[in-house]
């Protein structure tokens, strides 16, 4: 298996407060990696460094190396806009663009990226919505506002929006924490299906979810990565006592 993204010596700050400390981690192609840990431990900050979104926050900065298919996205002269095209992101709260239709929400990345041909856009929208298991539910209301869908559908719409620009990695920050159990199950199923097409890094505070759908798991605590390994191993035979205490529900 080859690593599609390799993180080394990654540190991130908000002003003077360090939120992520010296992370070394790599993600293999077509796998799901779960990032778990108590809230406030730096999970979101960490994955927001992987598409250089962290630096958009005032006073926030990050240093380190993040190789995407061999090229350092923090390298000299690298344009964050260009690298974000290859790294999709899904947020905690479903956030379809208000005032855009279902169709336009999915098409917007390609369209504003310069793609104009209607036939190609239509194809891409159908492909992405099919991939995100939403096509059958919305194919008759492509012109309805994206925000008119249910919460779970909105989140799958956001997944489709991210997939439309064909990223090689998909970052997901607690994508189900705002959803009901049925929508959550649908997204979990979808993630397992999606990893055939794209590498997934998913933050979750739900340990059952991590155990169910991820191949690798990384446990974060207070900005450090405490332990990383095969999901099955982390949940059955954690090496670090802090990991064990967390997964047995004794803190966090």
């Amino acid at each position: 298996m080859s690593a599609i993204m390799e993180v080394s010596g990654l540190n991130a700050w908000f002003g003077a407060a360090q939120a992520v400390k010296e992370i070394n981690l790599s993600f293999e192609k077509n796998t799901v990696t779960a990032i778990i840990g108590p809230s406030g431990c730096g999970k979101s900050t960490f994955i927001r460094c992987l598409n250089r979104l962290h630096e958009e926050v005032p006073d926030a900065r990050a240093i380190g190396r993040v190789l995407l298919e061999g090229d350092d996205i923090y390298g000299r002269g690298v344009d964050p806009v260009a690298i974000r095209r290859k790294i999709g992101m899904v947020f905690q709260k479903p956030n379809p663009f208000p005032s855009l239709s279902v169709f336009d929400n999915v098409a917007v990345g390609l369209r504003l990226g310069g793609l104009r041909r209607a036939s190609i856009l239509k194809e891409a929208v159908e492909r992405s919505l099919t991939l995100s298991a939403l096509w059958d539910e919305v194919k008759d209301k492509l012109n309805a506002p994206g925000t008119s869908l249910s919460g779970g559908q909105q989140q799958r719409l956001c997944i489709a929006r991210a997939l439309a620009v064909e990223p090689s990695i998909l970052l997901m920050d607690e994508p189900t924490s705002a959803l009901d159990p049925i929508s959550t199950a649908k997204i979990e199923e979808l993630v397992t299906e999606l990893k055939k097409a794209v590498t997934i890094v998913m933050v979750t505070h739900n340990m059952q979810q991590a155990a169910r759908i991820s191949d690798k798991t990384a446990f974060f605590l207070l900005g450090d990565m405490v332990e990383y390994g095969e999901t099955s191993r982390i949940f059955t035979a954690p090496k670090d006592s802090r990991t064990e205490r967390y997964i047995t529900g004794r803190f966090g």
Binding site: G88, F91, F97, S99, G109, A162
Partner: protein, 289 residues
Amino acid sequence: MKRHFADYLFRSYRKRKAVNSTMYLVLIVATLIALVPLFSIFGYVLAQGAPALNKSFFLELPKPVGEAGGGMANAILGTVTLVFLASLLGVPWGIATGLYLSEYGRGRLASVVRFCADMLASIPSIIIGLFVYALVVMTMKRFSALAGGLALGILMIPTVARSSEEMLKLVPQHIREAGLALGLPRWKVTLMIVLKGIRGPIVTGVMLSVARASGETAPLLFTAFNNRFWQGRLDQPISSLPVQIYTYAISPYDDWHRQAWAGALILVLLVFAMNLITRVVLAPKARKS
């Protein structure tokens, strides 16, 4: 002891309910009182102005002193022209300033800009008229529609800027982040996603300031001045409803007084119509698509 406490709770509950309904009543009365001036102004203007409205009021030029009849056709067209010129300057400039303040405005420069916008908004409009008089009228050596449009445009900038800024700030940060995460440059996210999403409220803010500008008199007195005839060129003095109303109202002629009321009625209706059109036509469309 227990019963005593329950009693107390019950009594305090009844008291709270009583206070609540009293306050509610007070608020309703206060609201109604606030509406009284609006309706009495409109009613009075309607009663005074409507009798003087006829076809020639809309189609004819003012008659010379002493002659009865005539109309305000040139002033109506003049106000439309001036407001159009003002919007050409004030709307894009105001929105651009609002965008800067909300999307890029961090640190010292932004606070300075914000402070200046607030200062500009509180400068009496007659001072802005004086400024344009010194800058444009003195240089061109004549009053002109351009100078009037400039004065009204300057007046619009701070209100459009601050209202756009407020609207933009209501857009949650994660919407912008979702756009950035798609690999779109910030300016595209700002213009094509953030701004597009709130074009309804922005238009409402713009229309309010357009309505304000169309009723301004003071800054026009020594910029656009007035004109008894049709004005074909923008570098000539131009008539406007507020200035025409002012001129007629302070005249000693009854006929002119009647026409002033009619002009006032048209001005009020113009402003109402603009607000109505914004609400009915523009806002729902922005919500739907």
